[in-house]
Symmetry: C2
């Protein structure tokens, strides 16, 4: 959305369901997604950052409440959980999503895991082994900061396994996610989509700031040199693994404020879709009130 | 602090170092701690809740920033971590501490674990086995919601192991925590101290509220009947395991707002004490700026 466009709008808020706007469906083309855009969000006059922060704050409590309902149900046999998978090029804002969106949920309802370069032990197993160990328990919101998709992204671009093995992985991923869904997990897969120019700015910013330079890794520039190859690998992964039950959403992320409110909407939509009620308890509330009233241990 | 006392104060804020006021030292007597008190915090005229929320918000960013420095250092070989252990009678507010105090830290810097009744597999091992598996990695803030102390609390009150075995556990705990400290972990142990009357109110509230009743467990009243025995078990654990390197703090918790700001101060104090600087990087920043400037993958 250009500045001219945003200046025309006076209303602030969602004009359409972001899940429909960002979902990867048949014929999807990553090169057609503008990383600078803000689909579905009508901007006011303040440029986005302020509106985004307000929107984020407005929905934070609902997100936390829905997770609490999810957890409450798990105490009474509910098997539902939510898994957010976040993939992106370096500096696209994965950490910000975790801190500012997911971070609104109480830590006891969260299981966040950042997948790094596989350890020697992990490499001795199938690529899904380490991932299966980190799937969320019933009642939890799990977050994967990177995931098994690395094995068809950097795995493909850097040829970290034989080509035919990498080809097989797409099917293995579909099967794995089908299992998770069948066991009660709602899966939301997000690619934060930035432009190469925006990445350059953000890496330069890291190099300039004493409080950010530790995040910089010289290998970031090596990977950056393979930008087109990574975009192709993303395109393949997105078109092959976006299913009805475990869809991909490509979130324009040059504007951090937009990426955050969009992911928040995706999480809210997924949780609202579960129609979570407080569970019916398995004891007699009236009888417990009486027991409690007559318990005076310290007296 | 009575209402009369608080009305006298016009200033708001800490009048003393809460770490000194709440630390369990020689001659400590749990029965002398008033669960209704708010040691060291000068109340304004609004009764506490509002002042507490403001105080919490005021320090949230610093807490998150200090954790980020801890994490940054771990990327460059730093071995420091922080472990907050929270113990309390039911309803004392452990969940609120995790949500409202610890929750201000980004989830990727946190490892929170709620210890439940041991599983059959856990029972096949030494009582510290499951605890060792959950200690925080370098750079992380770990939180134990309940802990190995259960094995000298409910373990003692309910005689879940032979008496002599339970006696041995205090020494084993001291040894275990000494190891953790030697490996770089700063340990902060907190008992949230509520009164039996306050617990009764809170349990009654749970029974009255459709959104809270799922948290109630009939066994809560059974444990409540053993209140004096639990207080004695706490007294023993506190006096035997509060050390210079891994001190206990007893936090009056009838006022939730006070317990939260007090625990926040304990965490801030522990992290400030580490004197965390941003790490020196191991690459040539100038050379990286040049490499980055000439990288134009998408052009």
């Amino acid at each position: 959305m250009s500045k001219a466009d945003s200046a025309k709008n006076t209303a602030t808020g969602w004009s359409a369901d972001v899940r429909e706007l960002l979902r990867v469906g048949p014929g999807f083309d990553l090169t057609a997604v503008d990383p600078d855009s803000a689909p579905g969000f009508e901007l006011g006059k303040r440029g986005g950052t302020a509106e985004g922060a307000e929107e984020l704050a407005r929905n934070a409590q609902e997100l936390n409440d829905l997770q609490e309902r999810l957890f409450a149900n798990s105490r009474y046999g509910g098997t539902r959980s939510l898994l957010l998978i976040v993939q992106a090029m370096d500096t696209a804002g994965k950490g910000g999503i975790v801190e500012h969106v997911v971070g609104e949920i109480s830590p006891e309802g969260l299981s966040v895991y950042a997948f790094k370069k596989p350890t020697p032990e992990e490499l001795e197993h199938d690529f899904l082994w380490r991932v299966r160990r980190r799937t969320p328990a019933a009642g939890m919101v799990g977050v994967f900061d990177r995931s098994h998709y690395e094995d068809v992204l950097i795995g493909r671009v850097r040829a970290l396994a034989p080509a035919e093995q990498i080809e097989q992985r797409y099917g293995q991923i579909l099967e794995f996610e089908r299992e998770l869904v069948a066991a009660g997990t709602t899966i939301v897969k997000v690619m934060l989509h930035i432009s190469a120019d925006e990445q350059k700015k953000r890496l330069a910013d890291r190099l300039d700031r004493p409080d950010k330079v530790w995040k910089y890794n010289p290998s970031d520039v090596d990977e950056r040199a393979l930008w087109p190859q990574y975009q192709q690998a993303y395109q393949l992964a997105l078109e092959r693994t976006s299913t009805t039950d475990a869809p991909w959403f490509v979130v324009p992320a040059n504007h951090k404020w937009y990426a955050r409110i969009a992911v928040q909407q995706l999480l809210l939509g997924a949780l609202r879709g579960l129609d979570l009620q407080w569970p019916a308890v398995d004891f007699d509330v009236g009888a417990e009130k009486t027991r409690l009233a007559t318990s005076n241990p310290a007296g």
